[in-house]
Subunit: 340 residues, 2 copies
DNA sequence: GACATTTGCGAAAACGTTTGTTATACTTTA
DNA sequence: TAAAGTATAACAAACGTTTTCGCAAATGTC
């Protein structure tokens, strides 16, 4: 009987009504072979009639499985993440799992608090897109434990970690290479958070592509946040204090949107005066009025795969071997870049 | 000791180490006044040193509070919902709650299955943006129970339901009124899901606005899904089989994006030949290349308020009075509509 | 110094399940 | 017909907490 005088029906109530022990009810409901078909039928009917709902937290306490997985992402507001979230949620749903959504807003303190909470709540597994490059706090939280974790959108240095990510380095490289092939030589990079892992790798890819063409870094990399506004402001700054680049590569698509806005507000045309390119291929990039040239990640696929891996790991706890998937980025040529 | 030979430390372990009863440990950790400062300090230190993490599911079993709330939304991929999700998650986080993300993909079966799951998992409250107009299954699931539910983005007819929503009728009305004031008389409506509650009300607002100007419905309302592609296809159909309207009101912004694409692909200019308007004000609507005229909902505010209400209800279960918040939509004039 | 009060803590029940072991009754086998 | 086997179901422990009650020692009161 709870505080409202409302009493939810438990296995014991059914036992009483059926005049059997409650162990029998439990077994009947889970189709245990020890129970006769007759009683099973009787009990199941009773359960239905009485409106029985199993109490999963009680069950979890003993089975040590909560049938929920934690999903930690930096920012649900960036259209990139909802798509991976959809991927994991879809697969989880199909397999009887439920997902706890945790957004860190790129703050490590939030990430840590959520990690602790997820542990307390005994989630069966964790899928995490880490906010920053240093993931030692994550390792230390769960390596000793038995909760599997798979990283997404990030490939950890630690060889024991499972992950699914598209090659960020290659993203940066491909994008830059494409611009170089178009004839650009003055290419600036507008990044997001300075200590973001993926941004860092994308930038490295960018730099290496330049190097492969024998070009130095002409513009010092700029960092802010992964927000349109940040891309906007950084670009304004870039345009004011530097030679105008012929192309700008943004760390991701929402930054690119800000870049475009700033460029045009500066009186320049995209792509006529300056080409701009993004990374991610968020759905709005394909909108005709935008037509952002970008390099695509298989967002839903990342999520689905991560969920698949984690559930596989949950079901086979003895198999500790890390599984690593690196997916291929795809160049998507649209209309924000031109050859010169 | 779990299946991996890894044993997480429990309150009993601490009790043993501290040479006190485990009741004492429990009380010490929760700062119960019965326990001396001295033992509290000792036990807390021990807990920390031993790496104790409370098992919330065990706690929940007895306190009947899981400190988690369920969030059911139709589609995380529509930028509208992540913003309300962010609102609830932010407030929940600040108050020690965690949120279970459930997306229904507008399917009532998913909604129902999730509802059942949330009940089984003993969430403390549920925030739901219902997929369709008929919410009887939701009522029946939780009215008998004690789990508070608040609707978002939807105002139920049932006077006992709590909700926070912006006035959908008014959204439709305001948008249409604006178009009318601009001189438009041939206005078409492109909707989303036929049995969506908000779409229906928005359409009603649209029709009433027309009526207030003495105008009949010139175009039969069109329905599809709440997807850009659907807006696109519906508009194509509209343009082919009807007189060209001077303005099109879309059921929401992502539809509007599809509308624009179709219109321009048809060889018409927005807003020169046809004005188009959306509803929601998703973040991309303000992007300069789009500049979608729309009517805004306070998305984050909706989420935050809903979380606030539900937590308030969780803490005061005796207070059964429904709380209803209807928020004001705001007309956002940008550049996809012109006066004629 | 006798009594009442407070302080600090332990014993045990409870939450709603699952599950290993045991018990009963019935059937088969030799 | 006795021994053995096979269904079926009951008993009880366990999961990791919180919480009610009670008890002893320490403290206060007159």
């Amino acid at each position: 009987m709870n505080r409202d005088g409302f009493m939810s029906v438990t296995i014991k109530d059914i036992a009483k009504a059926a005049n059997v022990s409650y162990a029998t009810v439990s077994r009947a409901l889970s189709d245990h072979p020890d129970i006769s078909e007759e009683t099973k039928k009787k009990i199941k009917k009773l359960a239905k009639d009485m409106g029985y709902t199993p109490n999963i937290v009680a069950r979890s306490l003993i089975t040590k499985a909560t049938k929920t997985i934690g999903l930690i992402i930096p920012d649900i507001t960036n259209p990139f993440f909802p798509e991976v979230a959809q991927g994991v949620e879809g697969y989880a749903y199909d397999n009887g799992y439920t997902v706890l959504l945790c957004t860190t807003n790129w703050q490590i303190e939030r990430e840590e608090r959520y990690l602790k909470a997820l542990r307390s709540k005994m989630v069966d597994g964790i899928i995490i897109a880490p906010a920053i490059d240093d993931i030692s706090h994550i390792i230390c939280h769960f390596n000793g434990g038995d909760t599997p974790v798979v990283f997404v959108t990030y490939s950890p240095d630690n060889p024991d970690c499972s992950f699914v990510a598209t090659d960020d380095y290659k993203c940066g490289f491909m994008a830059t290479e494409y611009l170089l092939k178009l004839g650009h030589r003055n290419i600036a990079y507008i990044g997001g958070l300075e200590n973001s892992s993926s941004d860092r790798r994308r930038f490295e890819g960018h730099r290496e592509a330049l190097k492969s063409y024998g070009l130095p870094l002409r513009y010092s990399p700029m960092h802010g946040q992964f927000k349109q506004m940040s891309g906007y402001e950084l670009t304004k700054e870039l345009l004011i204090y530097n030679d105008i680049p012929t192309a700008i590569l943004a760390g991701n698509d929402v930054l690119a949107l800000g870049v475009i806005q700033a460029v045009e507000e500066f009186g320049l045309k995209v792509p006529d005066n300056v080409s701009v390119m993004g990374i991610d291929d968020i759905s709005f990039a394909s909108f005709d009025k935008i037509s952002l040239t970008t390099v695509a990640q298989p967002k839903g696929e990342i999520g689905r795969l991560a969920a698949e891996i984690i559930i596989q790991k949950i079901n086979n706890p003895q198999d500790k071997a890390p599984v690593k998937k690196v997916l291929e980025p795809r160049l998507i040529i649209r209309r924000t870049c031109r050859s010169i």
